[in-house]
């Protein structure tokens, strides 16, 4: 039994945990403000807010998510908000709605609710509102009438208002200003009650293991399901029909910490957004926000998990390419409980073939933290700069001492059947001076390690040329001087 709040209503449902939140909202609850555009997280017309109780039980943290890819099970214990849940009484408009109307930001209107929800999510976000973060909140929303300039103006208008938002406990202010209805104030209490109720009945808070699924005890190991951002694109019907084991909310799979040995350890269900909010990560990789800006969109970064990106085994997985160059290792756990460590670079055997038993699950991801003097860069080119899949992506980690490259790890995606660690090129670089000449000599080596094919993301010739250019970009001024 899944239990959660949908707007003001307590939902208790036996619908499959692997079905989509979108279908539940539209076709079971008849809340038709949430639209279907693409069912693959690429348009944002189905954006809703998903609020999770903070551990202290005092507040709810809301994030925008594309409900088309949100497993219903991931709503368990949470507060799901659709536009019907923020609409004010008697047709009054919230400040977000007013801004969009005032600036002419709605033409055909089909994408509009998605923008409303994303901007409302921004207003509710504990992070500071700046012109950039406000715009970023709608980076996952597509408008085909292409009314972006008016939506930009609406966002700017709103952002002005949000400069008045108190930093601590902003909810009363937001309710007073009409961003959300007054009932939001009760949600921490209601979610706490829901959590306590769950604790009382079965002694656990989250929908751990397959608890979210109607079949409480799945045979062997059920399909693992994280943020849904790949599986619900690729085979939604299967995921809906089969028992699933939800991992997104398992407390043991979350968290980012630095060990005494200087390694950084991530829970497998860490999201890209959590990487961005982690001081540990930002200290180790200060340019991470710039890199992740090129990776998917705000809602997808709040949904997709790092391990999910690895296991999906896309040859152009952005996070996979980043973590290959960081030298990540995975801790795998078999159904028997047995654990082993596998370097990420050894996970991929061939296109979508993994060096992992079917019952092995990623528990943790561990990598040595780059030193401040190390070079770590990420490059990605896609047809559209944002919210697109790379034609080629690549990351480089270099340990440089006294002008010499001591160690190097170059990774490259989109240039072979699997995400590649360019082992030979990386090894060749070690011990050589960091110079334009070294880079020029390394470039043909990299070409020998790759085998791109022509496809919808580019021709072979383009991908080879692009990888060369992006490898040069890693070295920045050194090579371009």
């Amino acid at each position: 039994m899944l239990q959660f709040y949908l707007n003001q209503q307590l939902i208790r449902t036996q619908e499959p945990a692997g079905s989509t939140l979108l279908d539940f909202v539209r076709y079971h609850q008849h809340l038709t403000g949430t639209k279907i555009g693409c069912r693959e997280g690429d348009c944002g017309a189905c954006t809703v807010l998903v609020g999770e109780l903070n551990p202290d039980g005092a507040a709810v943290r809301y994030q925008s998510m594309t409900s088309c890819l949100t497993p219903l099970g991931n709503a368990h214990g949470k507060h799901v908000v659709t536009v019907e849940g923020i609409n004010a009484a008697r047709g009054a408009l919230t400040p977000v709605q007013q801004a969009i109307v005032a600036e002419g930001g709605s033409q055909c209107g089909f994408c509009t609710v998605g923008f409303v929800m994303s901007l409302t999510g921004h207003a509710l976000s504990p992070n500071p509102s700046t012109p950039e973060t406000a715009l970023a909140s709608i980076d996952g929303n597509i408008c085909r009438c292409t009314g972006y300039k008016s939506l930009e103006r609406a966002t700017a208008l709103l952002q002005q208002q949000l400069t008045q938002r108190p930093e601590a406990a902003p909810l009363p202010w937001l309710a007073e200003q009409g961003f959300v209805p007054a009932y939001f104030a009760h949600m921490p209490g209601q979610l706490t009650a829901l959590r306590d109720l769950a604790l009382g009945t079965n002694g656990t808070a989250g929908p751990t293991a397959a608890q979210g699924a109607p079949n409480a005890c799945p045979p062997a190991r059920a399909q693992l399901l994280g943020g849904g951002t790949d599986l619900l694109v690729q085979r939604p019907e299967q995921v809906r029909a089969a028992p699933v084991e939800l991992v997104y909310d398992q407390p043991g799979l979350r968290g980012i910490r630095r060990t005494e040995g200087g390694s950084i350890v991530l829970g497998a269900a860490t999201t890209a957004q959590q990487l961005l909010e982690s001081e540990v990560m930002l200290e180790a990789v200060p340019a991470l926000p710039r890199f992740l800006k090129l990776v998917s969109s705000t809602p997808i970064r709040q949904m997709g998990t790092v391990a999910g990106n690895f296991i999906n085994a896309s040859p152009i997985g952005d996070l996979t390419i980043l973590f290959l160059a960081l030298g990540a290792e995975l801790e795998l756990e078999a159904a028997s409980g047995q654990r082993r460590v596998l370097p990420l670079s050894e996970l991929y055997l061939d296109y979508k073939k993994l060096a992992k038993a079917a019952d092995e699950q990623v528990r943790e991801i561990c990598f040595p933290a780059p030193r401040p003097t190390d070079i770590f860069t990420f490059e990605k080119v896609s047809k559209r700069t944002h919210l697109d899949i790379a034609s080629v992506n690549t990351a480089a980690w270099l340990r440089v001492e006294d002008g010499l490259i001591r160690e190097a790890r170059l990774s490259a995606g989109g240039v072979g059947p699997v995400p590649l660690l360019l082992r030979r090129t990386s090894a060749w670089l070690a011990g050589r001076p960091l110079s334009a000449e070294t880079v020029q000599q390394a470039l043909p080596l990299a070409q020998q390690e790759i085998s791109p094919i022509s496809d919808v993301r580019g021709t072979e010739q383009y991908k080879r040329l692009l990888l060369r250019q992006l490898l040069m970009a890693h070295f920045g001024e050194i090579v371009n001087e």
């Binding site: 069912r39 709605s106 089909f110 609710v113 085909r144 080119v381 944002h386 993301r457």
Partner: protein
């Protein structure tokens, strides 16, 4: 005043097709499609699928009671394939089931056996094989053939532009209900309710009066739901007709992308001749339009390409020929601009080609050849109220064109791996359906006894704000608050024989009809006031709901007057008909007066290219546009900004990729990219030119739907400019869209094409050289 719908849109209360509460007993339809682009249909076996749980019916061509034909201009398109299949995604059968899941699940159990035949995807190849949809057309002015000899400069070339997926966020769909009279009622997401009605009646073998089509609004259309909404409406209706139960059919995104046609890709040849002063003396163009497997609207699109082959330039000697080529792609169709963007891309390519070879800025040639008052278009209509030079000169002065050029040059001199580019894109777009008969519309206006007003027209609201404009016209004409006006759904039983909402002409045609109806009602009411209050009719007005006699308040107001009229048994309803005056065109001679008026404008586009990565940004698009007397500047600005960005998408990111077997590879939002927030220009200025409008435009407010799309073409030429700043000698074919791939390959034309060349040391040197240039 703002667009009326948005307050409902932002609250999620606007109802679209899929939001309609489902009626008890509804069946869900899923379409069985051909997996082969061309072949003989040998066998269709539905037995196994019929046994799947929840499946109620599977309909094939044999179940069609009327005629299996939905071709609009040419009867060459069956609703369900029969005998042969002509494109991948062609509907072959329709599954009806108790749930959407059951219908979808049954699809894979239908066996479609096809003996493959050769597949054509290239329009030139199709033309060479004589595969033409209609005979070729040629528009002629002067004598181009004779003029070449007198030209100081003659240049020839080839220009290619790609297709464009409409990607309305609301996919195609329809919901049909059997009626007690033996007909059907269809709620359709269509721009052409009458087209759905007419073709459905034909398919069902019933009179048009037995088919009611209703449209509330569309979640985007852009031309993609003009003719291509028809199959889904007719299929749902067929299901409802046969099963005697409501049938709902909504395409999922990938099915929509696979099965529906798009903007036509064109491959064209051009030849341009200039004199020593850069005056264009002659122009010749041959267009090969990739029409896809059936005519759809292709002949009309083709014709509009010819009408606009010379864009906004006067050229005394023109020969423009167009071939509509039958290939095995889904039938390509209307898309905002309707063949005009493709034609303009070619003339702009010809000018750019001449400019590049002569070493002058393209803008030198463009400015010198702009249309002036009284100049003839190649179809012999003269310009009347020509604003081509005004638009250019205003944009150039307001935005400082010489300054922008200087800025680009200085930037390029100072940066090695970043280059900027600049282009000017002037436009001229003719307003009217080029099929003269379609320029008619009706409006049915009811005044209720409480003074509220309902307006029905043939206009379909799809985000262009036409309902808002119609309400404004009604309110302004009746002299009452817009709050009293409700614009009703578009329904074939209230307004019959409508033209589709297309050709940018919807607000003009339906707005004019509304104006006529409201004028008649106003006259009737004021005559009553004159009689009752014994006032002189000539001096009577209604303003802000008050009746004024010679400017002074009379002893009655809107509500009283309406009530009095009812009790006097005076009709409070009016049905008006409008037909654009003066239009004529002879398709035999290709001469006449096809357009009510023309819309002008000019855009200046600046881009920045990252010459290391081949990526780019559109920094600014600065527009001066001829709105006439804009009825609604907020709506109109939205149309200009949106159209320009859509045009930029067509010219940059939006790349349709089909393989040789006619399979669409860019088949989802993850592989077909449309502009997002960050790909819109950083600066997008719109200046409202001071122009008087035209009496044939509704309240002198000119049509705005399609013209701005062509501003996007400037982005292509600005990118070209930037690439040439980095690599002046790059061959750079005229080929749109200019994807990051094309940019990078054109920045580094010496890049090796084979693995061996990539890894051999000899090539490495040349690679290094190219980086340094």
């Amino acid at each position: 005043m703002n667009h009326l719908d948005p307050a409902r849109h932002v609250r999620g209360e606007s109802q679209y097709l899929d939001d309609i509460p489902v009626q008890h007993g509804t069946l869900y339809a899923a379409v069985v499609e051909s997996a082969v682009a061309h072949g003989q249909l040998l066998r269709l076996d539905v037995a196994a699928a019929l046994e799947q749980p929840g499946v109620v019916h599977i309909l094939t061509a044999q179940d069609i009671p009327g005629e299996n034909q939905i071709g609009g201009i040419v009867p060459d398109e069956p609703l369900l394939a029969e005998g042969h299949v002509h494109f991948r995604g062609q509907p072959v059968a329709l599954v009806l089931a108790e749930s959407e899941h059951a219908a979808q699940a049954a699809l894979r159990h239908v066996r479609v056996e096809v003996a493959p035949l050769p597949v054509l995807v290239d329009p030139r190849q199709a033309a060479a094989q004589g595969e033409l949809i209609v005979p070729p057309r040629t528009f002629r002015l002067g004598d181009a053939e004779a003029a070449w000899a007198g030209c100081a400069h003659v240049f020839e070339g080839v220009a290619e532009s790609g297709g464009q997926e409409h990607l309305y966020i609301e996919t195609q769909g329809a919901y049909a209900f059997p009626t007690e009279m033996g007909g059907v009622r269809i709620i359709s997401s269509t721009q052409g309710p009458t087209a759905v009605q007419r073709h459905t009646a034909r398919v069902l073998g019933v009179g048009m009066h037995q088919v009611e089509v209703d449209v509330t609004r569309l979640g985007g259309g852009f031309g993609g739901k003009e003719d291509q909404a028809t199959p889904w409406g007719a299929l749902a209706a067929l299901g409802a007709f046969v099963a005697r139960r409501p049938v709902k059919l909504v395409l999922d995104r990938m099915a929509d992308m696979r099965m529906t046609g798009k903007r036509h890709p064109y491959s064209s040849d051009f030849k341009i001749g200039l004199d020593e002063n850069l005056t264009i003396v002659a122009y010749e163009a041959t267009f090969f339009q990739n029409a896809g497997a059936a005519a759809d609207l292709s002949p009309a699109v083709l014709e509009r390409t010819l009408f606009h082959a010379t864009n906004t330039y006067f050229i005394p000697n023109v020969t423009a020929t167009a071939y509509s080529c039958r290939t095995n792609l889904p039938p390509n169709t209307a898309f905002r601009g309707f063949g005009v963007p493709q034609g303009m891309f070619v003339i702009e390519s010809a000018i750019a080609c001449a400019a590049e070879r002569l070493g002058v800025a393209a803008s030198e040639i463009q400015r010198r050849n702009l249309l002036r008052e009284g100049d003839l278009f190649p179809y012999r209509q003269p310009t009347e109220g020509c604003h081509a030079e005004q638009a250019w000169d205003t944009a150039a002065a307001l935005y400082d064109l010489p300054g922008l050029r200087r800025e680009v040059e200085e930037f390029n001199a100072a940066h090695r791996l970043q280059k900027k580019g600049l282009a000017v894109m002037p436009i001229c777009f003719g307003i009217s359906f080029t099929k003269t008969a379609m320029n008619q519309a009706r409006a049915l206006v009811h005044i209720y006894t409480d003074g509220s007003v309902g307006v029905s027209t043939g206009a379909v609201e799809m985000g262009q704000g036409v309902n808002t404009k119609i309400a404004q016209v009604a309110a302004r004409t009746l002299g009452i608050s817009v709050g009293r006006i409700k614009v009703e759904s578009t329904n074939t039983t209230r307004v019959a024989n409508t033209s589709p909402s297309a050709a940018s002409a919807t607000a003009d045609l339906n707005g004019k009809a509304t104006e006529l109806a409201c004028r008649a009602l106003r006259e009737r009411l004021l005559r009553l006031a004159a009689t009752e209050l014994q006032l002189d009719y000539e001096g009577l007005h209604i303003e802000d709901e008050q009746v004024l006699a010679a400017g002074k308040p009379a002893d009655t107001n809107w509500e009283k007057l309406v009530s009095a009229a009812y009790w006097q048994r005076i009709s409070l309803s009016e049905n008006a008909h409008y037909a654009t005056p003066d239009l004529h065109f002879n398709p035999e001679t290709n001469q006449g007066y096809p357009f009510a008026y023309h819309v002008y404008g000019t855009a200046l586009t600046t881009v920045r290219v990252d010459c290391l990565r081949g990526t780019y940004e559109v920094e600014a698009v600065r527009i001066a546009h001829d709105f006439g007397q804009s009825l609604n500047p907020a709506v109109d600005r939205g149309q200009i900004e949106g159209g320009a960005v859509q045009g930029i998408g067509w010219m940059t990111l939006e790349e349709l990729v089909y393989n040789e077997e006619g399979r669409l590879l860019s088949n989802s939002l993850n592989s077909y990219k449309i502009p997002d927030l960050y790909s819109a220009p950083k600066v997008l200025d719109v200046h409202f030119l001071d122009t008087p409008g035209h009496p044939r435009a509704v309240l002198r407010s000119k049509a705005v739907g399609e013209p701005p799309l062509m501003y996007g073409i400037g982005t292509y030429f600005a990118l070209r400019d930037a690439i040439r700043a980095f690599r002046p000698d790059t061959p750079l074919p005229f080929s749109a869209p200019m994807t990051p791939e094309k940019v990078l390959l054109n920045l580094y034309p010496d890049a090796p094409s084979t693995l061996h060349a990539w890894t051999s040391p000899a090539q490495l040197n040349s690679v290094t050289t190219s980086v340094d240039c």
